[in-house]
């Protein structure tokens, strides 16, 4: 039987913010949404993308010399990638001595990924942790996630799915039987704004949430709070109402906006569209939280 493969852009050990305990997060590449505030721009396209990590570059010139497409050059003392010419052949990453030239994303077999995540089994057991699939949008690779989670469950490992909710509903039945916890993003309650900020309306997302809720699975609602985009009291209150109506026992995590993705946009020659937005202040964070707590929801600010 041919191996199931996944398009993976990072396997992060000792993840402590994506589900309970000590976890390993498998980040899967490819996402239907294009959230303006996306912190993982390398995760959007479902293919590997070339990038250059300047601080560790030894400036040997091997990449430029060996590129069959002449896609690389030096501009202003830094390596410049002509993405029109680059065909992602990988020659430069192979000749680079320091891994400064590298791909975000790699196709990996299920065996290889499982072998990597099972290494920390003992840590999952003692800490009540496990394996998380995040992205990108993990549910676009539902066969892979389902098989990874199935193998984890065989080993008694806790599984967590981190999803944006925008995926074909039929994928739910493949993955949910092997899932213990779902971290489910709600970004905006107004579908037009949702479309404006992410590229899609919120209908399918909210519908998928209801479908997932029918499974005996724990759900944490996660709301990235982006000042100027979805932090209005009106929107947060509407979100809280929606959650309460669906299930008042659901736990809500508020994830404050941060700009840690900025460097990656630069490395990928992608424009950063939220220039000028700043992270919420502690007072603002507190007031956001209060909206949910006042409705009786269990809410935590990350």
């Amino acid at each position: 039987m041919p191996q199931i493969k996944g398009q993976v852009f990072n396997i992060q050990h000792f993840s402590t913010e994506d589900g309970p305990g000590v976890r390993t997060t498998v980040f899967l590449q490819g996402c239907p949404l294009r959230c303006l505030w996306c912190a993982n721009p390398e995760s959007q396209k479902a293919v590997r993308q070339l990038a250059h990590r300047a601080p560790i570059c030894v400036k040997c010139g091997m990449c430029i010399k060996n590129c069959p497409q002449q896609a690389l050059s030096v501009k202003d003392g830094a390596i410049s990638i002509d993405r029109g010419k680059c065909v992602s052949c990988g020659t430069c990453t192979q000749v680079c001595p320091s891994h400064a030239m590298f791909f975000y994303g790699e196709e990996k077999t299920i065996d290889k990924v499982f072998e990597e995540v099972i290494k920390d089994k003992g840590f999952y057991e003692t800490s009540g942790g496990g394996v998380t699939c995040s992205g990108g949008e993990a549910m676009l690779q539902s066969e892979f996630v389902a098989e990874l989670f199935r193998r984890c469950k065989e080993e008694g490992i806790h599984t967590t799915l981190d999803t944006c909710g925008q995926f074909p509903s039929e994928n739910i039945e493949k993955v949910l039987p092997y899932t213990d916890l779902v971290l489910y993003d709600i970004k905006h309650m107004d579908t037009d704004k949702h479309r404006e900020y992410t590229g899609f309306g919120n209908e399918l997302i909210l519908e998928n949430l209801k479908k997932i809720h029918e499974y005996p699975v724990e759900i944490f609602i996660r709301i990235p709070v982006i000042p100027g985009y979805n932090n209005s009291e009106e929107n947060l209150a509407a979100t809280a109402e929606f959650v309460k109506e669906l299930d008042p026992s659901l736990h809500v995590d508020l994830l404050p906006y941060h700009r840690f993705g900025l460097g990656k946009y630069k490395m990928l020659n992608m424009p950063y569209l939220l220039e000028g937005v700043t992270s919420p202040t502690p007072e603002q964070k507190e007031s956001y939280k209060r909206i949910f707590i006042n409705l009786g929801l269990d809410c935590r600010m990350h």
Binding site: F9, T16, A39, S127, L262, G263, K264
Partner: protein
């Protein structure tokens, strides 16, 4: 609740302990006085021992050392400082040690040299203040010991028998070459003093001496006679020392006008009349008995690493009696007493020689052990362990380094308390060690289980059987640099820097056809070098043993009285701990071998010739080659390709070391403790195939990955280290880790960290010290992110390394850390 059976061995009132205020006005005053005190170099001990040695010329060694110690006890100046309840200092100064001239006068000479040209009494740029008059006295004393001292005798013997030691030292293969450090690292039976009192021990020694019949073994009995006589002098001295404090307290009480202080002074007098002569009757007396014992050890042979060992065990019976059973002492008052003990421990000062100053600056290494198991295998954690941790957090001074002994049944309340205190303090104190690895390791060496369960931490993260073994001191040939040996492999046994052929000829590596040949060359280098080194260590130890005895220490270590023999001469139950050789830099050696395996034999991207050429040029102009070597698999990422060489060599080295003998005819133990030497060894280690550049520090500890080589997070580091079979490591296997303080903004991470340590400790791990990254390091990392590839940013749903953040954001992260938690 009363009829519920607790899942824990001992009761702990967490709320009461969490809410104590250890920093009472009295403690605050003691902290302030300590903070403001000038650190002196005292000369009285040097003067007393010099006079005593002159007077006892010609007498047997044990008796001379007994009289010498008694003289210190009778004559060393004493003082009781403002507000003190626990009394006793090293000298007339609040902080001031006297160099141990009788063991090694070089320390005094080096200290004096640093004051050359200083015409005032105190120079702020120097570590210790010493007046012009004191300098004269110290110089005279040191001159007297020149040639007579133990270290001189060891050095003379080494110079005549093993002239190569100096060359090896110069090359950076071994440390020292000038014998050196007085036997610190002691771990006596404090509990004997508290429970029995010294008078009963004096009686025991007299009884044993009286029973000698000089029939079957007249020579042996004569030696025992001298030993017992020395012990009796020493213990009588220790009792006198306490009585002098009692008399001083009474004298001060008479003059005291403040009635509260007057009562306190009378109380001090009462306590010092009772202990250490007689058993302690309450927690206050137990604390004072501990302190006198600790201080006397230091005065017998003043150096570093007097280790209070299992303090939550021997102080617990009196704590339990006063606080838990009778309620005669509140937790608040117990906390104040213990805080005063902590301040005292921090008043201990050490005059170090230059080598020590460079390698372990600013620490006295008074390792203190908490938790662990009782002799019958029950959890030994108790409320005092918990309260001590809280006091340690509040007093917040560097000493003592606390080691929490983890085991599967440890009271989780104490375990998480330890991690909480670690995060609060941030400085890797407390650190953690595991029974699950240590006890099987000791059993494997044939110790009975009751003794194995009584182990404690010592000095620089070492471990031994507290009360029944001790460390004999450094002979100047205790460390061997494996990174240097790797250099020898690349240059056929020659040190490329000094051009001296030190190692054996293992062949020109350009001719090696397989990776195995490299490993074999490494093993052969070590095999030949360790044979000579162990022989020199045995001879040095023998000379050392025959010139320096410690009767006070011996009286408090089992089984010296039974055997009638000085501790350092083999009187202790487990003499194997006295002398060991520690190997450093295995990470560098193993990463070098792995890089060769990967780039030369597997990927064929480099030739050996090219690597040597790059090494010859310290990689200058060879950045491409160095980048390749640096990005080869490295130990510490749970990558078997790199870890298998590390584990194979780790086990092989230990086994090889065991084939050597120590001076007592038992196997020589390889020590993997000690934070020492990675900087000084690194300075003399040239370029390596791992990418190490000339003079850079070698890897720190035993199983911490080389600087910046672990890029996959702490679980992978633990997994890599677990493969190195720690049960076989003789005394310790150091692992130092760093965590970002912001991680603990999520309180779940205290538990997650605890859980990770538990997993590591139950799968072969032995030691972990966790430093919470401070501002300076983050700033450094922001300036040079490429050198900190292991720093990660952990944010929900986000993936990136610190190095990928633009500078502005790195700075933002730094400023956030400074927010109080």
């Amino acid at each position: 609740m009363d009829n519920l059976i607790s899942i824990y061995e001992n009761p702990i009132d967490q709320t009461a302990c969490d809410s104590v205020n250890a920093i009472t006005p009295r403690v605050a005053k003691r902290l302030k006085d300590r903070e403001e005190a000038v650190e002196h170099i005292a000369v009285e001990r040097a003067q007393i021992v010099t006079d005593s040695w002159k007077e006892t010329d010609g007498e047997p060694l044990d008796i001379r050392r007994g009289k010498l110690f008694k003289a210190i006890m009778e004559k060393n100046p004493i003082a009781i400082h403002d507000g003190e309840l626990i009394v006793g200092s090293q000298s007339k100064y609040l902080i001031g040690a006297s160099p141990c001239v009788d063991y090694n006068p070089t320390i005094a000479f080096e200290a004096l040299r640093s004051f050359e040209g200083v015409t005032t009494d105190y120079d702020e740029s120097k570590s210790g203040a010493i007046s012009l008059e004191e300098r004269k006295i110290l110089k005279e004393c040191a001159e007297y010991w020149k040639g007579r001292s133990t270290s001189d005798q060891v050095l003379n013997s080494n110079n005549s028998m093993f002239p190569w030691i100096k060359e090896w030292d110069r090359a950076g293969l071994i440390n020292g070459g000038k014998a050196g450090m007085p036997p610190g690292a002691k771990n006596v039976n404090y509990g004997w003093v508290i429970d029995r009192g010294l008078e009963s021990m004096i009686e025991e020694a007299r009884g044993l001496r009286d029973a000698l019949d000089f029939t079957a073994d007249p020579k042996g009995d004569n030696e025992k006679y001298n030993f017992y006589t020395g012990v009796i002098y020493a213990l009588e001295g220790a009792v006198t020392f306490a009585k002098r404090h009692a008399a001083l307290a009474r004298e001060m009480a008479e003059k005291e006008t403040d009635s509260v202080r007057k009562a306190e002074l009378l109380k001090i007098a009462e306590v010092c009349e009772q202990v250490p002569a007689k058993p302690a009757r309450n927690f206050h007396e137990a604390c004072q008995a501990f302190w006198f014992t600790h201080l006397c050890e230091n005065l017998e042979c003043s150096f570093q690493a007097e280790s209070p060992s299992r303090i939550d065990q021997y102080l617990y019976p009196m704590y339990k009696q006063d606080v838990i059973e009778n309620g005669t002492l509140s937790r608040q008052d117990a906390a104040e007493l213990f805080a005063l003990v902590l301040v005292k421990i921090n008043e201990i000062s050490v005059v170090k020689n230059n080598y020590e100053k460079n390698n372990i600056p600013g620490t006295t290494l008074q390792a203190t052990t908490l938790c662990g198991q009782t002799a019958d295998g029950r959890d030994a954690s108790n409320e005092l362990s918990y309260l001590i941790l809280e006091c340690q957090a509040q007093v917040n001074l560097p000493q003592p380094p606390i080691y929490v002994r983890y085991h599967k049944n440890i009271d989780k309340r104490v375990w998480y308390k330890a991690i909480e205190v670690n995060v609060r303090r941030g400085d890797g104190n407390p650190a953690y060690m595991s029974d699950e690895t240590r006890i099987p390791g000791f059993l494997k060496r044939g110790m009975p289980i009751e003794d194995a369960r009584n182990w404690s931490a010592l000095g620089c993260a070492g471990s031994l059987i507290g009360g029944y073994s001790t460390h004999g001191g450094s002979l100047g040939i205790n460390y061997i640099n494996l990174a240097k040996i790797m250099e020898f492999v690349m240059y056929d046994g020659m040190d490329p820097k000094t051009k001296v052929q030190i190692g054996p000829h293992t062949g020109d590596p350009r001719n090696f056809k397989t990776f195995e040949e490299f490993k074999d060359a490494f093993k052969k280098q070590f095999d030949v070098l360790i044979t000579d080194m162990a022989k020199a260590a045995r001879v040095s130890a023998y000379v050392d043993i025959n010139s320096f005895h410690t009767p006070y220490l011996s009286a408090l270590l089992g089984d010296c009285l039974e055997k009638g023999m000085d501790a350092r001469a083999g009187g202790v139950r487990y003499p194997s701990f006295l002398y060991h050789i520690a190997d450093r830099g295995l990470q560098d050696a193993s990463d070098s071998l792995t890089a060769i395996r990967k780039l030369v034999f597997d990927d064929k991207k480099l030739t050996i010739d090219r690597i040597i050429e790059a090494m010859d040029h310290n990689f200058e102009g060879y950045e491409y080659e160095r980048a390749l070597l640096k990005s080869a698999p490295k130990y510490g990422n749970d990558d078997d390709y790199a870890d298998e060489t590390f584990s194979e060599l780790s086990v092989w080295l230990q086994e090889r070391m065991w084939k050597e003998k120590n001076p007592f005819g038992t196997p020589l133990w390889g020590g993997r403790s000690g934070a020492m030497a990675h900087v000084t060894f690194g300075r003399r280690t040239g370029p390596l195939p791992s990418g190490h550049k000339d003079g850079e520090p070698i890897a720190d500890g035993f199983c911490s990955p080389s600087q910046g080589c672990d890029t996959h997070g702490p679980t992978c580091v633990f997994n890599s280290a677990s493969k190195a079979v720690h049960v076989d490591n003789s005394t310790a296997a150091l692992m130092n880790m760093k965590f970002d303080k912001r991680l603990f903004n999520n309180p779940d991470n205290i538990k997650n960290l605890g859980a990770m340590l538990e997993e590591y400790f139950t799968h072969g791990g032995f030691h972990v010290q966790i430093n919470i990254i401070d501002q300076d390091l983050l700033i450094e990392a922001s300036e040079h992110p490429e050198q900190h590839p292991n720093l990660m940013v952990r944010v929900a749903g986000y993936s990136a390394f610190f190095v990928d953040l633009p500078k502005s954001l790195r700075n933002e992260i730094i400023s956030r850390t400074s927010e109080a938690m």
